[in-house]
């Protein structure tokens, strides 16, 4: 009885405290990054070959892109391109400061861009011959050749504080990261999570977002969870507030939950199978073509991805003009031709359903990453290859480690995906100077290199660039280092009791401009 009295007194006092407490909105949110960005090792904007949404909040860019792929001002207020494409002038925003208090101005740009020289990302600035500081807030790029893709590159390239960047060396992006963005890096546990804290001085947001001032959340935690079911469980149980990419499998599950909202935007991802053109048996183009034609894209779309998204028949997402290749270059399921090609190549069908040549079975090692969506896709690809007599043994690697495995060049065939919405991804994955990773196929062909050079550096206008890249893309497809499979849509899921988001995302993906309009629920 005594105990009960105490309990009653305690509950009354707690209730009164609750009644008196001011209403405090949650000032922090936890967001799960897409599984294909798991394993980011550095937020270094100059050298990193993998990036994520957090990087887009730490650094600002000179320009931003909207959903219709039009360019808008950000750190650059306006710009002009010379008629012949041989120079660009950028007028920079005034009053912008870096996280360490250093002012942002024309000299920043002059110091920053040369840092790309010699890195994997050198192609971003390769067309720029010299940078002239016209006045404190005006900078002029003198070009080696016209670069129709310059604004696209500038909309990706985060601006770091150049002096700290040089002083910190390898540590920049790992222990400390200095940009002008709406958030500062508070902590970064590689492979685990990134915690950002709001930059309260921020007043220079891009007009693509409604909010151009400081962000609405004080803290953002970005977690890396490779396994989709774990990420979904975390969202369902309130452990996290948002998934930046919900696999198609879980879309119906998310729709069932009343407090979760799903927003789909056109994807920038392409799922594909890539073959190593220098390793047996894929050094024979007939075997490569046969393997590519054995992939039943529609079956995969319908059964693995629940019909959400669309099939891929080129190496580029279909929204890009360079994806409009001639029909003869499109790669689509054709089992009869696949079988005929393997017969022609001398691989005859054995009794156990595996083809043989010179007493050797047609066995390959199919590499994939360990998250369940890829494992499942690989098992279907394995069965589809088996149907034409190719026996594939699946080798799974940790999602964060597989890029290092590719550098060994030991891969025969792999199932993977990329996220990018520019035709220069063909250069990235098939350039002869990037063998291993990113050029997993080890494709290094003189004709392709000529077409590549024309596409990357020889285009004077946007139309010419499209024509050159289309030709390069067509040639690569004709050599079958790759079998395109699927193009997803991006489905973002968030907890509506914690987060509010704009109804329409005016961006090609879930970038900084979308996240700037994210707010706590009152």
């Amino acid at each position: 009885m005594k105990f009960n009295k105490h309990l009653l007194a305690a509950s009354v006092s707690i209730a009164s405290m609750n009644a008196m407490a001011p209403v405090v909105f949650a000032q922090e949110a936890t967001i799960v990054l897409p599984s294909n960005t798991v394993g980011l090792t550095s937020y270094n904007p100059v050298t990193a070959i993998l990036t994520n949404a957090a990087a887009f909040l730490i650094f600002d860019r000179l320009v931003e892109v909207d959903a219709a792929r039009n360019y808008h001002p950000h750190l650059a207020e306006s710009w002009e391109e010379a008629e012949d494409g041989m120079s660009w002038v950028f007028h920079l925003k005034q009053g912008v400061t870096f996280h360490n208090g250093v002012p942002f101005n024309a000299q920043t740009i002059a110091d920053w861009l040369p840092l790309y020289d010699g890195t994997d990302n050198a192609y971003y600035t390769a067309a720029i011959d010299s940078i002239q500081v016209v006045d404190e807030y005006t900078v002029k790029f003198v070009m080696k050749h016209p670069e129709p893709n310059l604004l696209y590159n500038l909309a990706i390239m985060g601006v770091p504080e150049p002096k700290s960047f040089v002083a910190m060396g390898e540590n920049f992006g790992v222990t400390e990261t200095i940009g002008t963005g709406p958030y500062k890096l508070e902590s970064f546990d590689i492979g685990q999570q990134t915690v950002l804290v709001r930059n309260d001085d921020y007043t220079w947001g891009s007009p693509v977002a409604k909010n151009t001032g400081p962000a609405k959340f004080e803290h953002l935690t970005f977690r890396e969870i490779a396994e989709a079911s774990t990420a979904f469980l975390e969202l369902k149980t309130g452990g996290v507030d948002m998934l930046l990419s919900v696999p198609a499998d879980f879309v119906p599950e998310v729709e069932k939950q009343s407090d979760l909202k799903l927003v789909s935007v056109p994807g920038r991802e392409l799922v594909y199978m890539v073959m190593n053109v220098v390793k047996e048996p894929f050094n024979d183009i007939k075997v490569r073509e046969a393997a590519a034609l054995a992939i039943n894209q529609q079956e995969i779309l319908d059964n693995i991805y629940g019909g959400i998204g669309q099939v891929a028949d080129t190496f580029l997402i279909s929204a890009l003009p360079e994806a409009k290749v001639a029909d003869e270059y499109r790669i689509a399921f054709n089992p009869d031709k696949a079988n005929a090609l393997l017969d022609e190549a001398g691989w005859t069908m054995g009794a156990d359903g595996v083809r043989m040549k010179d007493g050797q079975p047609l066995k390959v090692s199919l590499w994939t990453q360990s998250d369940s969506v890829f494992r499942r896709l690989s098992e279907v690809v394995q069965a589809q290859l088996k149907a034409v007599g190719i026996s594939a043994e699946i080798g799974t690697f940790d999602s964060a480690m597989i890029r290092d495995q590719y550098k060994s060049g030991e891969q025969q065939v792999a199932v993977r995906s990329y996220v990018w919405d520019n035709a220069d991804i063909v250069d990235w994955f098939f350039g002869g100077d990037r063998l291993g990773y990113p050029n997993i196929s080890m494709f290094n062909d003189p004709k392709a290199e000529d077409l590549r050079a024309a596409a990357m550096t020889g285009s004077k206008s946007s139309d010419e660039r499209i024509a050159n890249f289309t030709a390069y893309h067509e040639y690569v497809l004709s050599q079958f280092p790759v079998a395109p499979i699927y193009q997803p849509v991006v489905s973002v899921a968030y907890n509506t009791s914690r987060i509010s988001m704009p109804e329409v995302f005016d961006a090609p993906g879930i970038g900084s401009t979308v996240l700037m309009d994210m707010a706590p629920v009152e």
Binding site: S229, F232, E253, S372, E379
Partner: protein, 287 residues
């Protein structure tokens, strides 16, 4: 002598089966072994042929335990999975029993530097959990059924080496060993005819119980994707693929989980009955 051996095993098994837990566990184990051996004759489905439009079918008349994420019959996958789980665990334990007994008997009987070296290595592996030893070995050998077998075999080597060694050490000072030696018997004869047969009973019981653990270890390796590689089913692999579809098709993870649990429980029950059946004091009391 041959007759006597048959009779001894008959009575041991008889004593096990006289206990209710022995009967229940024994029946389940016989059933699992039967299903594993005759799987191709017991099911109309193939374990590796995908039927994607029929994926995620709940248990019904056509598929008693439903289908998996590729439309393959779960009952068929469980039956073939029993093959993998049982063969990997018994062969692995067979390897560790054979090697462990040889090593343990030699080091226990001869002693000296050899004994100290063996003990040091065994104590070192004993200080790691079995799963860690197995994971390191699979990382070296590579994933797959062979890798899992060797890894599990080596992981349990320490157990049987230590057990045999301690048994041999206890018996080798008995007077009948001394008598044999003075009659001119060779070391090989003494080991094979006197020491090892007397050390066998506890090793059999330990092997039985370790087989249960090995099934769990095999399932764990399979769960991590390091056991049998797809499309070959293993119970751990089935559970692993089920985790991704826990909400949509819970049977994919539950059914192999139940199979592992019930089988390991049956092995432990049977082992328990075996302990009583092989207990020397109990046998003396009965006579």
């Amino acid at each position: 002598m041959g007759v006597a051996v048959v009779k001894l095993s008959d009575t041991t098994l008889g004593r096990v089966m006289r206990r209710p837990k022995g009967v229940i566990a024994g029946t389940w184990l016989i059933l699992v072994v039967f299903v594993a051996v005759f799987a191709p004759y017991l099911t109309p489905y193939e374990y590796d042929i995908q039927d994607l439009p029929n994926a995620f079918r709940a248990p019904d008349a056509a598929h008693w335990l439903g289908t998996d994420e590729f439309g393959r019959d779960m009952l068929t996958r469980i039956m073939y999975g029993a093959r993998t789980s049982l063969s990997v665990s018994t062969i692995a334990i067979g390897i560790s029993v054979f090697c462990g007994m040889c090593l343990g008997a030699a080091s226990g009987y001869f002693g000296g530097r050899f004994d100290r070296a063996v003990t040091a290595v065994i104590d070192l592996t004993w200080s790691f959990p079995e799963i860690l030893v197995a994971l390191i070995l699979v990382a070296i050998i590579g994933p797959g059924v062979t890798g899992a077998m060797v890894a599990i075999g080596v992981a349990y080597l320490a157990l049987f080496t230590r057990l045999t060694r301690s048994q041999i050490m206890a018996i080798k000072s008995e007077t009948f060993v001394e008598a044999s030696l003075s009659l001119g018997a060779s070391h090989g004869h003494i080991l094979m005819r006197h020491l090892l047969p007397n050390a066998l009973a506890p090793v059999i019981v330990a092997a039985m119980l370790a087989t249960g653990d090995a099934i769990i270890l095999e399932a764990t390796l399979g769960f991590f994707g390091l056991g049998a590689q797809p499309p070959t089913p293993s119970w751990g692999g089935l559970m692993s693929s089920g985790t991704a579809h826990m909400f949509k098709a819970p049977w994919i993870i539950i059914i192999p989980g139940v199979a592992v649990a019930v089988t390991v429980f049956a092995i432990n029950l049977f082992g328990d009955a075996l302990i009583h059946a092989l207990d020397v004091r109990a046998r003396v009391r009965e006579s």
